[in-house]
């Protein structure tokens, strides 16, 4: 028996030899997002970020579209037929050839799956001779932008199983998968017959670490070279660690309150303004997310340059004014400090979810700040599906979530869903604004800049005054970079980790 212990102890010692000394040409990435499946409809974001699969259309960090697997694209005069010319002699990681047939097949699948494409007015997607042809129901200018979206990446035909579900991570990207242990880990190596510029690094590993503390520790201990989405505290701590450089990039993700505008308490814009005025954005930005500059003054953050409108007068925090507005609406203070109007207490239920740790915190903060103006808020932290569910059955009152307005390089797709006629699950509820709806349609269908910007200002103004959703915080995309890692680009659109450009200093 004792020999057995000896053996195990020895083994333990053997194991505890220093962790993998960093091999010169490999990079380890840690982020919160798990890779549960090989299906782009489910894990497209990570697949795209890691450059395993590619889109027909690519985009740079400004969101300017550029050729991807398609070298060029054109639209017919009536705007109903789009033709994408495919790049030639591109091969998948499994050696099979990339061509119009399998491109069209992949796109058709992502058209059937929930995703951006399914929202577009597409009537058919068909392969042509070295091209893929989209037939539309009506003109839709931002189709190329949709084809840059993560759910429209092209998996290899060999990756698709009998049921037509992509079950292996095979694409055309500069990196191919050597080991996939869902949902946490991925091992990548450079794909040598990649059509484009060969990456500097030879291999990379991806690790999904759910807890922010773990990620921070990974960065601090040097186990991970590139760590994304740090918690405020971890971020400020890592700033003092010499081996690590921290960066924060504003991104077009906005933490907003969805308000049920058909709710008797909230149907009047004044009420919604009151809610907004009662929110101490500065406080939240300083104490919780810890980026004071993140306090939202309007829905669109500066990074969405052609949507952000400097001329708007910013959203203020002024509880007294908020109270006054509510008084105008006939609310009076009840004995328990909570407002009352014809016998009804001013109580609201806020729905949010824990997946983003800051949400429950901010919900708690709102609870406190609104109580100050006499609104009794109950917080329901649950699965985020309760928000669309509540939107559908009309039971939702207020919801707190983070909305990404750059799912596609051009936010219009998202905005159409959110503020188009009838509103959207993650946008307006019970709020129909003809002007805005028209403006959005105009933007979607035209490429003419003048018309666009005019329409844009219509949208942003009425959103600011009507507040169908109340913006609270503009997000920062945070990352920790190991020293010596060069040309790291933090993509505000979060389309790529920039693996193909990264290199270690000599």
């Amino acid at each position: 028996m004792r020999y057995f212990y000896a053996a195990t102890i020895l083994a333990a010692l053997a194991l505890s030899s220093p962790a993998l000394s960093r091999d010169g040409n490999s990079v380890t990435i840690a982020s919160p997002w798990e890779v549960a499946s090989a299906d782009p409809a489910i894990s497209g974001f990570v697949i795209q970020k890691l450059q395993i699969m590619e889109n027909l259309v690519d985009a740079d960090v400004e969101g300017i579209l550029r050729p991807g697997l398609a070298t060029q694209w054109s639209v017919s005069a009536d705007g109903l037929t789009w033709t994408f010319t495919l790049r030639e002699n591109v091969i998948f990681h499994d050696g099979s050839e990339f061509n119009a047939i399998n491109a069209a097949a992949a796109l058709n699948r992502s058209f059937e799956q929930p995703g951006v494409l399914s929202k577009a007015p597409i009537s058919s997607i068909g392969p042509g001779d070295g091209v893929v042809v989209f037939e539309l129901e009506h003109a839709f200018a931002s189709l190329p932008a949709l084809l840059a979206h993560a759910t429209t990446v092209i998996p290899a035909p060999g990756a698709v199983d009998a049921e037509g579900v992509p079950s292996a991570l095979i694409g055309t990207g500069p990196f191919q998968v050597t080991e996939f242990s869902p949902p946490q880990a991925l091992e990548l190596v450079r794909f040598d017959s990649y059509w484009g510029k060969a990456p500097a690094i030879e291999s990379a590993s991806y690790l999904a670490a759910g807890r922010a503390e773990t990620r921070a520790l990974l960065a601090e201990s040097g186990d991970a070279d590139l760590v994304f989405t740090l918690d405020p505290s971890g971020f400020s701590r890592l700033a003092d660690v010499p081996e690590v450089e921290t960066v924060a990039v504003p991104i077009p993700r906005v933490l907003t309150l969805k308000v049920n505008a058909s709710h008797p308490f909230l149907d009047d814009p004044q009420a919604r303004q009151a809610l907004s005025l009662a929110i101490d954005r500065a406080g939240i930005a300083t104490a919780i997310t810890r980026f004071p500059e993140g306090a939202a003054t309007q829905l669109f953050p500066p990074v969405l340059s052609d949507w952000h409108d400097e001329s708007l007068d910013p959203l203020e925090s002024d509880p007294a004014a908020a109270r006054a507005l509510l008084m105008d609406l006939g609310w009076r203070e009840g004995e328990d400090k909570i407002l009352v109007r014809d016998g009804q207490r001013f109580t609201l239920e806020l729905r949010t979810f824990p997946d983003r740790p800051e949400l429950p915190l901010i919900a708690a903060a709102l609870q406190d700040q609104w109580r100050a103006i006499g609104i009794d808020l109950t917080v329901n932290v649950s699965n985020y599906s309760i928000i669309p569910e509540g939107h559908k059955d009309g039971t939702l009152e207020v919801a707190l979530y983070a909305r990404n307005y750059a799912l596609t390089p051009d936010p219009i797709g998202t905005l159409l869903q959110d503020f188009g006629t009838g509103g959207g699950d993650w946008g307006a509820m019970g709020w129909d604004n003809k002007a805005v709806a028209e403006a959005l349609d105009r933007i979607a269908s035209t490429a003419d800049q003048a018309q666009r910007s005019e329409a844009v200002s219509v949208v942003s103004r009425s959103l600011q005054s009507e507040l169908p959703v109340i913006p609270i915080i503009w997000y920062q995309h945070t990352a920790a970079i190991a020293e010596g890692l060069q040309n790291v680009i933090i993509d505000p659109l979060q389309r790529s980790y920039g693996l193909s450009d990264i290199a270690w200093a000599e």
Partner: protein, 277 residues
């Protein structure tokens, strides 16, 4: 003979040793219980009321244990957490222990099919991972304490059942009971004179272990945000919420951890250590 000589002395020593540490445990537990019961009133802060601007303060006259990341009073939150954890633990221990023990006696007394069925059932429950049960109940009623309560009780009762059954079988078959029966002792007297004195202490120990398990489980579930939910003050929840600040404000995360450690410590000491009956 050697063993006999031992019995005269060394266990006496042990008994003394245990009783001192036990006393300590009991006192500690009483203190915790008292704090949980009356503390919230004394602290005078609402565990939910925040002021973001004075978040993450160190201990002060105003806030004895400082404030958390939302500027809520730590002392108040700890105590209301204690109330919740202890209450939940004790409640589930009681509601698991009494039926568990009774069924155990029943099985031991009636034997035969009743025994077989109950035992098979207990085994099946044992084989169903306890946490799974709790998790799913917690999922049915997110953040509600009763789901945890039911789940924990459901998983805890088995131990009482098995222990009681196994001991009761021995006792009931022993001459002591046979003699009493021949003298005309009825069930209630057998229970009072034989079973309870024999099994009671063991059950108390199991109860302490169960309570410790319950407290840790509640915290663990809170920690993976499956159990009690924010903004409710619960130790596990506080741990998750405060963990991010463990470097800049270590005293914060230490508090709920310390509270948990003390509770479990008290429970184990009060039954004289780690020995299961």
């Amino acid at each position: 003979m050697n063993a006999m000589a031992h019995d005269e002395t060394s266990p006496m020593k042990q008994r003394l040793a245990i009783s001192t540490s036990r006393m300590a445990g009991l006192l500690l537990f009483a203190a915790l219980g008292g704090a949980a019961a009356f503390g919230p009133a004394l602290v005078g802060h609402d565990p939910a009321s925040q002021s973001l601007l004075d978040a993450r303060q160190g201990p002060s006259a105003e806030h004895l244990l400082g404030t958390d990341h939302l500027g809520r009073d730590m002392a108040a939150r700890l105590l209301s957490g204690a109330r919740l954890s202890l209450g939940l633990a004790l409640l589930s221990v009681v509601s698991a222990g009494i039926p568990g023990a009774l069924l155990g006696v029943l099985a031991a007394r009636s034997g035969g099919w009743t025994d077989r069925l109950l035992t098979a059932f207990a085994d099946a429950v044992l084989a169903l991972p306890g946490l799974l049960l709790v998790l799913m109940l917690a999922a049915i009623a997110p953040g509600s304490w009763w789901a945890l309560y039911v789940g924990i009780s459901l998983t805890l009762w088995v131990e009482y059942f098995r222990y009681t059954r196994q001991r009761a079988r021995v006792v009931l078959a022993a001459p002591q009971v046979e003699a009493s029966r021949m003298l005309g002792f009825g069930p209630s007297l057998i229970l009072r004179r034989h079973l309870i004195p024999e099994i009671g202490p063991g059950l108390l120990t199991i109860a302490a272990f169960g309570a410790a398990t319950a407290v840790t489980a509640v915290a663990a579930l809170g920690f993976v945000s499956v159990g009690i939910r924010p903004p409710q003050a619960e130790w596990g929840v506080m741990m998750t919420e405060l963990l991010p600040y463990w470097r800049e404000a270590p005293w914060l995360i230490l508090q709920p951890v310390a509270a948990l450690v003390l509770t479990v410590l008290a429970l184990h000491l009060s039954v004289g250590g780690m020995r299961r009956p």
